[in-house]
């Protein structure tokens, strides 16, 4: 005669994992499998954002050129296209590599090794966040880009800028060239030569520029190519979606890095205090945060691709 207790017996004996019942699917622990599926759902979220960026970029007649927008770096470096973001990419790649080393040391049950390599990973992640903070500060504070304002525009036709009397100057640009509109207050972007003498204009119409209510200087130029050749036109704001998409997507990625650093810190402290050494599944928690950390690097590969390289 079988009793209920007898039927439940195998369950009671199965205590070496979180799975109840038969063998674990895919020959992997419950925690790691669920981390994979969380990352899958997260990949869909990021894919949604990046595809939205693509669709809006395709729908816009002009788009700010990334190697013009992202050409400043700390220590007063100007006109260094993509150099700073390349450094940021290297930081994430290096921290990903140190994370692999931490997981390897975990397999060898080497507590000191795990703590050392996780510590380096945290430094890399924090360094990346610091770089991103600088990038945002520069874009918001110096270049006046916000979620709803995009002072990075691009020219449709070739042309030449006008001087104080409304005459054409020698300062010409090609069709598709990007520009950054500065604010009228002194000490705006500080890029010498580009907007010389344009930093202290009163609001209103001038022969060489129009200053709007937010004190953005819309420089005037004479079109020298295309069907509108000969017309006098003013610089316009770039597509609004650029600022919103940039801050939202890089912010969402940065938040992933921030939470990754927090979890790495917690798990590193746990490792150091010997929590995992005495547990049955050993350093599996290090493997799980490792999966998450590599995913953050993986997403950056695509954020880097669509925002900076294309």
């Amino acid at each position: 005669m079988e009793t209920t207790e007898k039927l439940l017996e195998p369950h009671e004996n199965h205590t070496d994992g979180s799975w109840e019942g038969a063998a674990a699917p895919f020959n992997i622990s419950y925690g790691k499998l669920m981390m994979w599926y969380f990352l899958l759902s997260d990949a869909f979220t990021f894919a949604g954002f990046l595809i939205a960026y693509g669709a809006l970029r395709f729908s816009s007649p002009s788009w700010p050129v990334p190697d013009f927008v992202f050409s400043t770096a700390p220590f007063g470096i100007h006109d260094a296209p993509l150099i700073f973001v390349t450094v940021m990419s290297f930081l994430l790649i290096i921290s990903s590599v140190t994370m692999v080393r931490a997981v390897q040391e975990g397999h060898r049950e080497n507590k000191r090794g795990v703590v050392f390599w996780m510590f380096l990973t945290i430094i890399g992640g924090a360094g990346f966040l610091g770089c991103q903070a600088w990038e945002w500060t520069n874009l918001i504070g110096k270049e006046n880009m916000t979620v709803t304002t995009n002072p990075f525009g691009s020219h449709v036709d070739a042309g030449t800028y006008l001087d104080e009397k409304g005459n054409a100057t020698g300062e010409t640009f090609k069709a598709g060239a990007s520009f950054l509109m500065h604010k009228s207050e002194a000490g705006g972007h500080g890029e010498e030569g580009h907007a010389e003498g344009h930093h202290a204009l009163a609001k209103g119409d001038h022969p060489n520029a129009f200053v709007d209510n937010q004190s953005f200087i819309h420089r005037k130029f004479k079109v020298i190519s295309g069907p509108n050749s000969g017309d006098i036109e003013t610089e316009e704001f770039g597509p609004k979606a650029f600022g919103a998409l940039f801050f939202f997507i890089t912010g969402f990625h940065g938040f992933h890095v921030l939470s990754g650093v927090a979890f790495l810190l917690i798990i590193m402290i746990n490792v150091a205090s010997g929590v995992y050494a005495s547990r049955k599944n050993g350093y599996e928690m290090v493997e799980k945060i490792g999966l998450y950390w590599h995913f953050v690097d993986l997403v950056w590969v695509f954020v880097f691709l669509v925002f900076y390289l294309f």
């Binding site: 699917p25 895919f26 020959n27 992997i28 499998l33 994979w36 599926y37 990352l39 899958l40 990949a43 869909f44 894919a47 595809i51 939205a52 693509g54 669709a55 809006l56 970029r57 395709f58 729908s59 816009s60 007649p61 050129v65 190697d67 296209p81 993509l82 390349t86 990419s89 290297f90 790649i93 290096i94 990903s96 590599v97 994370m99 692999v100 080393r101 390897q104 397999h107 060898r108 490792g290 999966l291 590599h294 995913f295 690097d297 993986l298 590969v301 695509f302 880097f304 691709l305 900076y308 390289l309 294309f310």
Partner: protein, 139 residues
Amino acid sequence: MSQKTYEESKKAVVKGLFLLGFVTLIEVFISLFAKGHIIAGLNDFVWIGYAAGLVIAVLSIYKAYFIIYEFMHMAYEVKGLAITVLLPTSLLIWALFAFFQEGSAWKARRQLVKEKNKISIEPSKEKQGLMDESLFFRL
């Protein structure tokens, strides 16, 4: 879990570091090259931009493959797990084409509206409709 010895996997990590760094450098170089930063004037050729974009996209997908298969150990997991993760993701390729097409359509439609708005039409002086105006019921 890992089929390599400790020394071998340590070497593989260093190899991975240089590989990812090198591929990233090449990507940045191609991007700057196509935009005319290395040889001035190259950005005038549209096809160079498209070709460079394609090469960079392929290199990025290679980087993603390397991170997933080596760093995240997908190569050492059961095949079924790889399929459950990678198959749903690969379906996004369709979304890519569909939404980019949609974006281009928005642009074309906006352009059409702009052109139509420019056209001005003179009101017709000819008689409209079939009924004579004297037959209209007026209040």
